[in-house]
Symmetry: C2
């Protein structure tokens, strides 16, 4: 499909900088996507999202299928028009949410009170009203085509990452469903990505990558990580998986992660990331900084006239003091979530842009070393401050 | 005080168009001020407030005195810098909130479990932690000077509007406190306005206006309205009060009101309005239109691709459908409050700008007639629709 060309502009070690072309414009990679679960990145307007530097936005198929309904979104002109975002968008398959229902994630059994998986698909109950629904690969393709994001994901089965036998049987379904999704998918303006599974097991990951690459998707995701395994396990899994994927297709690490995860993912050759973390922790009063994080509710900020991060160029840091942000949190004002979401997304988007620039200049290894050195120094300083006080 | 000059540019019947000059820029009058109770107009950034056309913003002294504390705000550079609003600001005296505590408003007694009024001031308990505090005229001047708004209000006593005897005794205190506020007030960059009280009684209102005008304030407010009296009583009170105020000073109708109240207030010679209504009802899913209002949660909007008001130029109406706004409300997304606050404030600010333009062109009577005719037609249409459905 010629629409979805991926140009690789530079590599630096395993790290890559490129551009993935979509129907709603180019994605400079590596890239980080804010998450707009219910067709809104919580507390932000699309204009604010744009100002903060977002290019790609993710929405959740499970949530939008249930409410307001994918057919309704299609009748209203598709997801882009519905939520007022004219840039590139990505939808997941809804599978992860279905498996996560009622805390069943990580369970070895395929059954729970809320969902039942069989070889043909998954039956689940809505978290909103308890009604029964069924996702098959063909049904999910219909839903994602109705939503109309630029990148859609195949339906897969998310297994607990450290259970080998479960991963073997889940992989069988994941691969069969990937084939069925590819056969059912029809929109020429939508890139369908395959999803590599296999838990933390290198042999399963390699097997999964080989199978999916043979199906020839315009891009490949790595699923089933950041769900309980250690950082070392995540990194080892990436090291085993990424070399098995073709260099001329974008690689998407689903649901990851923190500032550290971005830098380490890029170092291993990941091109696309998404995570709810920056906006979710914003709603709990947490500010992400390049080198650490702050609980902005802390009384030590009550009289602090400095911006959250004096080196940050975001609207929040250019306009407001830590004291004001803390006041908004303590006074339970909605603006606290907005200002912290702006800052946290800006931090993530700045880090990923810096990674890209460093790769293009051939200095990514130095950038990565400096990033970790700054974090070590900040942690040591925090410890000193705690001893002093 | 030469800083606070009021230029009257045009009159049309009793309606007036002018400019009141403040330390943070000129106020074109008539003007409507959004309310930022806790140093934030709920759910909006100052940038969004500016984009929606706001010029003057009100903040509440009672709330800011308790949290984060007026001395803290002063140490952080004052209210403008604290909340990132560089335009003109106004603070009330906190009196109204103190009298409203625990639903004691409208009570004939000066005592309640939460506050006690005596001739020297009012003792009250914080709604946050129950601790005792005391406001005297001198203390309130100190607090308002710490906050540093461009317009500050004297401490007054708000009496139930239809109780003559209570209003007679309340007026005695209100006048004595106005004198003490004027004597205690020191900031040359802050305009201190007197507040006319007297309930719905023309003789008391005229007496109050005469007393305050003799003290020579740079502006006068009309307090104690929109608190339970009928619209006819409010209008009669304005008709009795406004002619007793000097033409060369701005008149501020406190806590009023609806789109209709703006037009009728302007018609009687009011220059400044404030009201929480547009942002408060926004958080309940209500959209204000020039001619009516919508409950945006209503299922009839679920598939409606039209903007809330097809004639509206606000960001919300230019970007989103009724269906999307309804989805955000049903999905309990914070963005619903933001988008409806933008729309509702834009509606109020547009109406007040249209009033001003009509006065300057000498066609305010026709504007007012057309405003009411459009509302009558919309109401008739709503009734027809209800009969049909």
């Amino acid at each position: 499909m010629s629409l979805f060309t991926f140009e690789l502009h530079a590599t630096d070690g395993a790290a890559r900088a490129g551009v993935f072309h979509t129907a709603h414009g180019p994605l400079p990679t590596p890239i980080y996507a804010p998450v707009g679960t219910q067709a809104t990145v919580k507390s932000l307007t699309p204009r604010q999202l744009h100002e903060v530097g977002a290019i790609l936005v993710l929405a959740n198929t499970y949530h939008l299928y249930l409410r307001p309904g994918d057919e309704r979104v299609a009748a209203l002109g598709g997801l882009h028009r519905f939520m007022g975002w004219n840039g590139p968008m990505l939808t997941d398959s809804g599978g992860f949410q279905v498996y996560s229902l009622a805390g069943t994630r990580g369970e070895a059994s395929g059954k729970s009170s809320l969902r039942t998986i069989d070889d043909d698909g998954v039956t689940f109950r809505s978290h909103i009203d308890g009604r029964r629904h069924r996702f098959t690969p063909e049904q999910v393709m219909r839903v994602e085509e109705n939503l109309g994001a630029d990148i859609a994901m195949v339906l897969d089965e998310c297994a607990p990452p450290t259970d080998y036998d479960y991963n073997v049987s889940a992989l069988r379904r994941t691969h069969a469903w990937a084939e069925r999704c590819k056969a059912a998918h029809t929109r020429p303006d939508q890139a369908l990505f395959g999803i590599v599974q296999g838990g933390i097991f290198p042999d399963l990951r390699e097997q999964s990558a080989r199978f999916l690459v043979a199906l020839d998707f315009p891009g490949y995701a790595i699923g089933g990580l950041s769900v309980g395994e250690t950082k070392a396990e995540m990194h080892a899994t990436l090291d085993a998986t990424l070399p098995a994927l073709p260099a001329d297709k974008p690689r998407y690490l689903m649901g990851v992660g923190t500032p550290e995860d971005l830098v380490e993912g890029v170092a291993r050759g990941v091109d696309i990331f998404d995570c709810v973390l920056p906006t979710r922790v914003a709603r709990n009063g947490q500010a992400l900084l390049r080198t650490s994080k702050f609980n902005m509710r802390n009384a030590r900020f009550a009289d602090d006239p400095a911006p959250i991060d004096p080196t940050c160029a975001c609207y929040t840091c250019q306009t407001f003091s830590r004291a004001y942000v803390r006041h908004l949190i303590v006074a339970q004002e909605m603006l606290a979530a907005t200002l912290l979401s702006i800052h946290n997304l800006h931090t993530m988007l700045t880090i990923i842009k810096e990674c890209r620039a460093a790769i293009l200049e051939g200095v990514f290894a130095a950038y990565r070393a400096a990033f970790w050195e700054a974090r070590r120094r900040a942690a040591a300083h925090d410890q000193e401050s705690q001893i002093e006080s």
